[in-house]
């Protein structure tokens, strides 16, 4: 655990010692604002809740989270520091977990900085704050899922651009796996059980139920399994490809 903490600290420091972190946070806050107030018609609906704010998070994350995760392993491989890291007395699991937690903490910081929206809605009306808290938890969990996918893809390539593009595509499939766009592909030939399985891994369905204020154990398990699976895949990929 001590090693995980050391890696986490170093990574977080890495984010904030370059302009990347500040550019990301500013753009994230700017876009959440635009989506909430213009596309989400926050004022016009006249309801004291943050539904228009959370509704666009999956689509924002689709492009912004791979931008955080793309550097996790690609950069280490490109600059050769992976050789330094992997000859220190730490296990691959600790390194993967430390890096993932740093990226997640960073996403959490960006998300926490949206608090003025929460203050606004509380100033204008009296929203159900437990629903809003659930929305934040759901959003953070979803960011974790995206990041775990991105971490694995990043370990596959030395190029951050490739890592970004492939992560976006895979995250897109995960968002839409409950929709006809993806399900039609399986319709007609795959057994119903498989179609149901594909439909049930959709980010969107799990996010929407949490966002309504219902924190169901099934949704929590879904995100936990998703993150664990992709991090485990990252460990395997890092181990197998670290030197290539």
């Amino acid at each position: 655990m001590k090693n995980v903490r050391a890696i986490l600290k170093r990574e977080l420091y890495g984010y904030f010692s370059t302009p990347v972190a500040y550019v990301f946070i500013v753009i994230f806050l700017f876009l959440t604002g635009i989506f909430t107030f213009y596309l989400g018609a926050f004022y016009e609906r006249g309801q004291a809740d943050l539904e228009p704010f959370f509704r666009f998070h999956p689509w924002l994350y689709l492009f912004l989270i791979p931008a955080i995760s793309m550097r996790l392993w690609s950069e280490e491989r490109k600059s050769g520091t992976i050789e330094l890291l992997m000859t220190l007395p730490i296990s691959v699991e600790e390194a993967v977990l430390g890096k993932f937690l740093a990226a997640w903490a960073f996403a959490g910081i960006a998300l926490a900085l949206t608090f003025p929206v929460w203050i606004t809605v509380n100033y204008l009306g009296s929203p159900d704050n437990t629903v809003i808290v659930a929305g934040y938890i759901g959003s953070l969990l979803m960011a974790g899922g995206f990041l775990a996918i991105g971490s694995c893809i990043s370990a596959l390539t030395k190029s951050q651009v490739i890592a970004f593009v492939i992560s976006v595509v895979i995250c897109f499939l995960f968002i839409l796996s409950g929709f006809p766009l993806v399900l039609d592909f399986f319709q007609g030939w795959a057994p119903q059980a498989l179609i149901d399985a594909v439909g049930s891994v959709s980010f969107l369905t799990h996010f929407e139920s949490i966002q309504k204020g219902v924190i169901d154990a099934r949704d929590l398990v879904y995100y936990a399994v998703l993150i664990a699976f992709w991090l485990y895949a990252t460990v395997i990929v890092v181990d197998a490809r670290k030197a290539s």
Partner: protein
């Protein structure tokens, strides 16, 4: 018991047979010079000793421990300078050394003391608060050396520690190696043959993945009719090319 015991070490990268059954041992108090043309398998062998690459066959024992069976314990006892001295460019020298100390489990007052000592030994005082990416090649290399000796390891493996240093800095690093040689087992690779005379108690030559020579620098010199170490190297390494 030898500090490093390499037995029938073999490594393939797909169709390329990089290291072909190399065996040698290094005792405490010895400085082993690793020589050979570019692409001979020097770095690959060092990577396997440091636990970064898995051998295709053969074993590496460090202080009686198998690198593959107890990787973390072995890595804890080794100081390793990878080829090209990769470091995290966005970190300052002080932060970077602090991170290495944390991972190496050096805490509290001992950490300060060790870092101070190494910074004095390698003369990094002037650049302590500069980010590593802004440093000259020579300073980057010295940061790499500092990182490798920070935990006062029993076994030191350095891939081209003097590459890119000016004559004064080369002299300093050589004196440092000399100083540490008494109680440590040290392996360095180099292209500079005079270095072998200056610091090594033993030399190994590998070419095309095979061990061609293992003996003292004096023995190496005696391989050449003129008693010249450069000529001896040329004779040994070009001879093998003719055979294969």
């Amino acid at each position: 018991m030898p500090a490093i015991d390499v037995r029938a070490l073999d490594r393939r990268f797909g169709p390329i047979h990089a290291v072909r059954g190399i065996s040698f041992a290094v005792r405490h108090g010895e400085v082993l010079g690793f020589l050979g043309p570019n692409g001979a398998g020097k770095s690959t062998t060092m990577k396997m000793i440091a636990g970064f690459l898995e051998p295709s066959a053969g074993t590496v024992m460090v202080n009686g421990r198998d690198v593959q069976e107890e990787p973390l314990k072995v890595k804890a006892s080794i100081g390793y300078l990878p080829e090209g001295a990769p470091c995290y460019g966005e970190m300052t020298v002080a932060r970077f050394l602090d991170f290495i100390a944390e991972i190496r489990g050096i805490d509290g007052a001992a950490r300060r003391e060790r870092i101070d000592r190494v910074v004095r030994q390698i003369h990094l005082e002037g650049v302590l608060h500069q980010t590593i990416e802004t440093l000259s090649k020579g300073f980057k290399r010295r940061v790499g050396v500092a990182q490798a000796i920070l935990h006062d390891p029993d076994v030191l493996i350095m891939d081209e520690p003097t590459d890119g240093l000016d004559p004064n800095q080369k002299h300093e690093v050589r004196s440092l190696i000399h100083e540490m040689a008494r109680e440590k087992a040290i392996v360095i690779s180099t292209h500079i043959l005079e270095e072998v005379d200056a610091v090594c108690t033993r030399a190994i030559i590998i070419a095309a993945g095979r061990l061609l020579f293992d003996g003292t620098p004096a023995e190496l010199r005696s391989k050449s009719p003129a008693g010249d170490i450069d000529e001896a190297f040329r004779l040994l390494t070009t001879e093998s090319r003719g055979q294969s």
